[in-house]
Symmetry: C2
């Protein structure tokens, strides 16, 4: 009765599933017709901040981000919630409104969901978006010569970990939460408009983990310039005190074999590049001839971005980090 | 900052969301164009049986059922899983294969998902399906004169509750599990083909809870004939011993005000009609002139069904149960 999973779903039997079998990307992509493809994704997690509204907003921004990272536009979302029966109703309302306001900001609509009772809260979304099948942002679309663009600073892992043991400055947590609540909408829409074909979003595997996946899928090597990688206020201080979530150490173990560090990079600065992020930015491979129009359109929307490196032909390792 | 939810999503701003705002139905429905509408739903729960393969298969059949209950055809699904880190890998594999085989049987494909660590396992699916916007099965489409069709026997709540305290006969649990693993595909496809417009699936609110929702949404009264309502082997015995899950008592409290019992129905038989079901059958409102072709097509596929009552004009209560 039990057959291996790869026997159950053969790509040839699902020709319209453009992304979803084989190498994982940020979300599944299903072709509806010549002009339209569905983007489908789900994400949910335990509280990352104490404030219930912010928790909901971050969970929603994080789930919506997978649609943006594929070049899609969110259409509708379903709430996914596991909540303790003794959680005050006002708190549940604030979580749900945090999620709903982000979905609305994304131009989508919450159309239902499923809630169960659970000891520890978990919330998130299942999201359905729409994209053009010939204008997707995939991990495999990066080419030598492309510039590497990052749209949010790093450090949400070490800052929220510091906050859990009351070691974070309140202002640092406020700033980190604001970035986590921020949608990746502007960069995704502009990237699609200018003709970008490769991107991913930075979440649990950290910058170097997700960068590795992009490099491997595209068959290229990414050259990152550590000095140009933006960090959240306070991140370097907590990193120097070696306050990291467990996931950051796991990321380093999983990915450091494919990373060559050129020059003298302090240990805690390297570790920050592995820091597990929540609702991080997009990492975009921007062809150089599109750089000017990308910059102009991002500036017109006052959308933040940093050029953090570039892409070359595949070397012995997928990632090279210059100190 | 906090606005009430109904201010965030106004139906007029989402004209293509045919079902999802306002009165809840089995799944959200989003119109893509004249001929096609997306059906989107999510469901997940803690183990209902000990066998990991069966648990996965039941969770998947249950989640897929919401697509069938709206008249849709499942296209793709995402796994949703919260699993204890110490669960043996073979068990996780069996749960996942149980889910995958059901998705495959439904003609759909698993295209990704999200897994987190959790103390108590929860698994299920987010499912995207496709339907014709003018051939949906909604709760609001039932009309006086329609016959009431049920496609699975009742009693999964009391049988699985009996099994948890080792009071269930093994054969009874095997039979209940087989029904819970069964897809609602045949009845849904045939209902759509013959022109049915109203259905719902029987899950946590029990037969009378879901029947009430259908009656209220359609503005009709449902007349159920208790003697014709199918019961799983053993269900009546456990019911007579008053072995019910907490949800069944909650259903009775919530819905009994709208139920008039005509004749002499034993308490435990009435309670079985409120029994919280997992992956239950479809409750279909079948126009009488379609009864013959529906019966012939169901017979051709050897698909089980029972005629359990009929629909009349709205009376003082939504439900009348004849003993």
């Amino acid at each position: 009765m039990l057959r291996p999973m790869q026997d159950l779903f053969r790509p040839a039997e699902h020709p319209d599933l453009l992304v979803g079998l084989g190498a994982p990307d940020d979300a599944a992509v299903y072709r509806l017709d010549e002009a339209r493809a569905l983007i489908v994704t789900t994400d949910f997690f335990t509280p990352i901040v104490d404030d219930p509204y912010q928790y909901g907003a971050i969970a929603a921004a994080n789930a919506l981000s997978d649609v943006y990272a594929m070049g899609g536009r969110p259409l509708l979302a379903l709430n996914i919630a596991a909540l303790p029966p003794d959680l005050p109703p006002t708190m549940i309302t604030q979580i749900m409104i945090g999620m709903a306001e982000k979905v609305r900001e994304a131009g989508a609509v919450i159309a239902g969901g499923h809630t169960i009772q659970d000891k520890e809260p978990k919330v998130g979304l299942a999201v359905v978006g729409m994209a053009s099948p010939d204008r997707l942002l995939t991990k495999g679309g990066a080419r030598p010569g492309d510039r590497l663009i990052l749209t949010k600073p790093l450090g949400t892992g070490c800052i929220t970990t510091a906050a859990k043991s009351d070691q974070a400055k309140p202002d640092d947590l406020v700033e980190a939460a604001a970035w986590m609540m921020r949608l990746n909408r502007d960069a995704a829409e502009i990237a699609i408009e200018v003709g970008v074909r490769a991107a991913t979003d930075i979440t649990g595997f950290g910058l170097l983990g997700h960068a590795t996946e992009l490099a491997e899928a595209s068959g290229v090597t990414l050259y990152l310039d550590a000095a140009r990688i933006p960090l959240l206020p306070g991140a370097e201080q907590y990193a120097a005190a070696w306050i990291f979530p467990g996931g950051s150490a796991a990321n380093r173990r999983a990915y450091e074999g494919g990373v060559r560090v050129a020059g003298d990079l302090p240990e805690h600065r390297l570790m920050l590049l592995f820091d597990a992020q929540t609702s991080g930015g997009l990492l975009i491979a921007l062809p150089p001839d599109q750089r000017e129009v990308f910059a102009a359109q991002m500036a017109a929307r006052q959308a933040p971005w940093w050029e953090v490196g570039q892409i070359g032909a595949r070397e012995d390792v997928p990632l090279v980090v210059h100190a």
